[in-house]
């Protein structure tokens, strides 16, 4: 009898210990998404999940809140002029290891981000010189006027110069490096959370940094964050449905109704800063994959407009995107400076008009072409292409779908080896210049259409340095009108972000798909 009760008691104690371990007084948030951060080095990789993860540990001078408005972070104020920008830094900030944050760290971090193996060189290439005015004032001297410098540095994180020297990580890890550097697995920032443990692709744990300057300003009350990446979409949703995680960043659209109807779970949505569109090679003398030889059908604007009119963007929204997209006539979303309601209106869906345009252009029976599409990059990318193949077939264009992984798809665009392709473009600076420079300028590194309009190219250069906002807006509008008329792209929609969240938490959703734990409240 005694023996039995003892066993019972110890079993109870064990059960209590098992139950108590995760459910102590602290607030724990467990979340998941598809991909893990690639490195903890803040300047080595300019990639979404990596920035999002590092942004919990590190801070930048200027940041964005979940409405994407610019907010002071490590700088409290800033001012621009024709030669550069001056930032006043926050006082009394300490890194996780206890050392003080000063102008020296800012200068060090920006120089580090400009060095050889950094992936942020492009973003801050306008900075010519960095001057330390005093311990808490830094001046960036730019190469001519730069109206949008603060927009460009929101994910440029500040490291501790002393820590970097002590651990021999004064440069980001080289691509062809033979050895791993200390900063790949270790981090020392000023942010609200510190890295407690990290096993890539398995589990990353963050703990609240009680010393953080912002706790009095932000509502967040999470003590510990556990991040478990789950690659397979169905498994990710299963983890949310079974209560193993509290938050899924990227549930598949078709599973949203299920999440919504599950007790204790909800879905948050917001329009994303990313547009999805088809590009057409109008520059080559002949398409590589077409039955039309000796000329290029896409070179005729009528054919490009026919493609635009053939796409039933509303059907794609309703059926492929579960209602979660904004059909558009532009390749950049509202919220980006330069997007206007007139240009954002989709090209009308009209099969007859599209057929007439094709016939006028000399292709009454259509033509064939290969459609290159990624199958692992954008929301339902392959299904969008599949739907487009059906719609184009109605007007006689026989599109052969080639859906491949992003690692095979994007090089085709960069090397301009595709006739017809799907691409999505996000705009971190929230300014049209970022779109023109990469997608529309004749030399743009992601412009595989071969489109090059002298006036648009000129405007792209002008708006890079124009400080007068009114004049600048007029130039941007002029360029967008030209693009709309000449249609080098066939815009489909702007994406919508959907997060699956447990009712126990309040997690404000951001249009950049970034997780901001300082706002997260456990109810």
């Amino acid at each position: 009898m005694k023996h039995r009760s003892l066993t019972g008691a110890s079993a109870l104690a064990l059960a209590a210990a098992l139950a108590a371990a995760p459910a102590s007084a602290e607030n724990v948030l467990r979340w998941t998404s598809q991909g893990d951060a690639l490195t903890m080095d803040p300047h080595a990789q300019n990639e979404g999940p990596t920035i999002s993860m590092n942004g919990q540990i590190y801070e930048s001078l200027v940041t964005r809140d979940y409405n994407l408005a610019l907010q002071p972070e490590l700088a409290t104020s800033w001012e621009g002029d024709l030669e550069g920008w001056t930032f006043t830094l926050r006082q009394g900030v300490k890194f996780h290891d206890g050392s003080d944050f000063t102008a020296e760290d800012v200068a060090f971090s920006f120089r580090r981000a400009q060095s050889g193996a950094s992936d942020y060189k492009e973003q801050i290439k306008s900075i010519k010189d960095i001057e330390i005015i005093d311990d808490h004032t830094v001046r960036f001297v730019t190469d001519g006027p730069n109206p949008i410098l603060p927009n460009e540095i929101t994910s440029l994180f500040i490291m501790d110069s002393g820590w970097a020297k002590a651990n021999n990580v004064e440069m980001p890890q080289d691509y062809a490096a033979k050895e791993e550097t200390f900063a790949v697995r270790n981090a020392n920032g000023t942010g609200p959370y510190r890295l407690a443990s990290r096993a890539p692709d398995e589990l990353t744990v963050m703990e609240r940094n009680g010393e953080w300057w912002g706790w009095s300003e932000f509502p967040g009350n999470i003590d510990k964050i556990e991040y478990r990446p789950i690659k397979n979409a169905a498994t990710r949703v299963a983890a949310l449905l079974s209560g193993e995680v509290d938050f899924v960043l990227d549930p598949p659209l078709q599973d949203l109704p299920r999440i919504e109807s599950t007790e204790g779970l909800g879905v948050s949505t917001v329009a994303q800063m990313r547009s999805i569109f088809f590009g057409m090679d109008l520059g080559s003398p002949e398409l590589r994959s077409s039955d039309v030889k000796g000329k290029n059908p896409f070179a005729d604007p009528k054919v490009r407009l026919a493609v635009n009119h053939a796409l039933d963007k509303e059907a794609i929204k309703r059926v492929v995107m579960e209602g979660l997209s904004f059909p558009t006539g532009m390749i950049t979303p509202p919220g980006v400076r330069g997007n206007t309601p007139e240009n954002d209106a989709p090209y009308e869906f009209n099969v007859e008009a599209a057929k007439a345009l094709l016939a006028e252009a000399g292709y009454p029976d259509g033509f064939s072409v290969t459609l290159d599409c990624p199958n692992d990059r954008y929301v339902n990318d392959e299904k969008i292409c599949q739907a487009a193949v059906g719609m184009l077939a109605r007007i006689g264009i026989k599109a052969n779908l080639e859906a491949v992984s992003k690692s095979q798809h994007f090089p085709k665009i960069q090397n301009r080896q595709t006739d017809f392709y799907l691409l999505g473009w996000g705009v971190p600076t929230l300014d049209s210049h970022y779109v023109f420079a990469y997608l529309i300028d004749g030399e743009g590194s992601w412009n595989a259409t071969g489109y090059s309009n002298p006036r648009v190219n000129e405007i792209t250069d002008l708006i890079a340095t124009e400080m007068d906002e009114e004049k600048r807006d007029a130039l941007v509008a002029e360029a967008w009108d030209i693009v709309k008329a000449e249609a080098p792209y066939a815009p489909v929609h702007h994406q919508v972000i959907a997060w699956g969240i447990s009712d126990g938490f309040e997690i404000p959703i951001g249009a950049d798909d970034s997780f901001r734990p300082r706002f997260v409240v456990k109810k």
Binding site: Q254, S289, A315, N375, G390, N400, L401, E402, S405
Partner: protein, 317 residues
């Protein structure tokens, strides 16, 4: 001519008589095993239905111009909201599920048969040669088989895909995807066939009639073709049946890993992969019907293979 005739006749006749005898035996076992009859019936019906797809399917899901996206995700006809013309409902692109399964099944069976055929011809050929000739050639062939076994099928598919892309004009690449899958699965299959055929050859080559044929000076290829090959076919046939089932599944797995047949001309495997994405969505017909079709097909083929293994093994009767 007349000198050749008598030599050919005895060589051809005894096996055919032997086969006839064997067949009647097998036939007896067949009619006395209900599961074998049911399996065979299922297999035949499934294969017939799939091959008659263009005749019996209400729609042609491979013709993009026939599809309307607005008809997407309709439930089966007997469920509220379903339409009579789409008996089993429609998929996420507005294709009729029934037609898509029939056409997809046809594609899967073709892929499976072609892949197994490729693996079988390659494997049996090399296996018989390895077993008969022996020595260095045997070692080389069997080591190549080892190498083959160490390379995952998925990588092989990527490799063949890549080579195809490099050498084929872009406009036929979409059709080419099917051959990629066939070759990838066929190539991962052949070592099995080679091992079995080699084993059977080693046994057969010791027998007196083969030794005798050698002594009269019959050429090696003739001995292999006439005497050894027919005797390896029994175990090979069993493997081939199961291999057919495995090939259909392998094709689905390749599709899951993003290396399969393009979604515009879906196979059963591609449909299963798509259905897998809809498991939690409540659109159960997109997941369930292709899965049932696959299970029935594979199950029937496997059952048939099972019975064949038992029936063709004289020791077990």
């Amino acid at each position: 001519m007349s000198a050749v005739e008598p030599r050919v006749d005895p060589a051809a006749k005894p096996p055919s008589a032997w086969a006839r005898l064997r067949e009647s035996d097998v036939f007896h076992s067949f009619v006395s095993t209900p599961s074998a009859m049911i399996a065979a019936a299922f297999t035949v019906i499934a294969i017939l239905a799939c091959f008659a797809a263009p005749l019996i399917a209400p729609f042609n899901p491979f013709d993009p111009a026939q599809i309307s996206l607005w008809d997407g995700k309709l439930p089966p006809a007997w469920v509220e909201g379903g339409q009579a013309q789409y008996v089993l409902g429609t998929d996420n692109q507005g294709r009729d599920m029934l037609s898509t399964i029939l056409y997809g099944g046809r594609l899967s069976i073709i892929v499976g048969m072609a892949a197994v055929g490729l693996g079988m011809v390659l494997g049996v050929g090399l296996g018989v040669i390895a077993g008969y000739v022996g020595g260095a050639l045997d070692a080389v062939i069997m080591r190549i088989a080892d190498v083959q076994l160490t390379i995952p099928g998925i990588l092989l598919a990527i490799l063949i895909n890549g080579i195809g892309r490099a050498f084929l004009p872009p406009e036929i690449r979409e059709e080419f995807a099917i051959y990629v899958v066939i070759i990838a699965i066929g190539l991962t299959d052949w070592p099995q066939f080679a091992r079995v055929a080699r084993g059977a050859t080693l046994v057969e080559a010791q027998k007196e009639y083969v030794q005798a044929a050698r002594v009269i000076g019959l050429p090696g290829w003739l001995i292999m073709l006439r005497h050894i090959l027919p005797n390896t076919l029994r175990p090979v046939l069993v493997i081939a049946t199961i291999g057919l089932a495995l090939a259909v599944i392998a094709e689905a797995t390749l599709s899951f890993l993003g290396q399969g047949i393009p979604p515009t001309t879906p196979s059963l495997g591609t449909l299963i992969r798509v259905g897998n994405e809809y498991l939690f969505s409540g659109l159960w017909w997109i997941t369930l019907f292709p899965a049932i079709a696959l299970v029935v097909l594979v199950f029937a083929v496997n059952l048939l293979g099972d019975w064949m293994r038992d029936a063709l093994n004289p020791k077990l009767r």
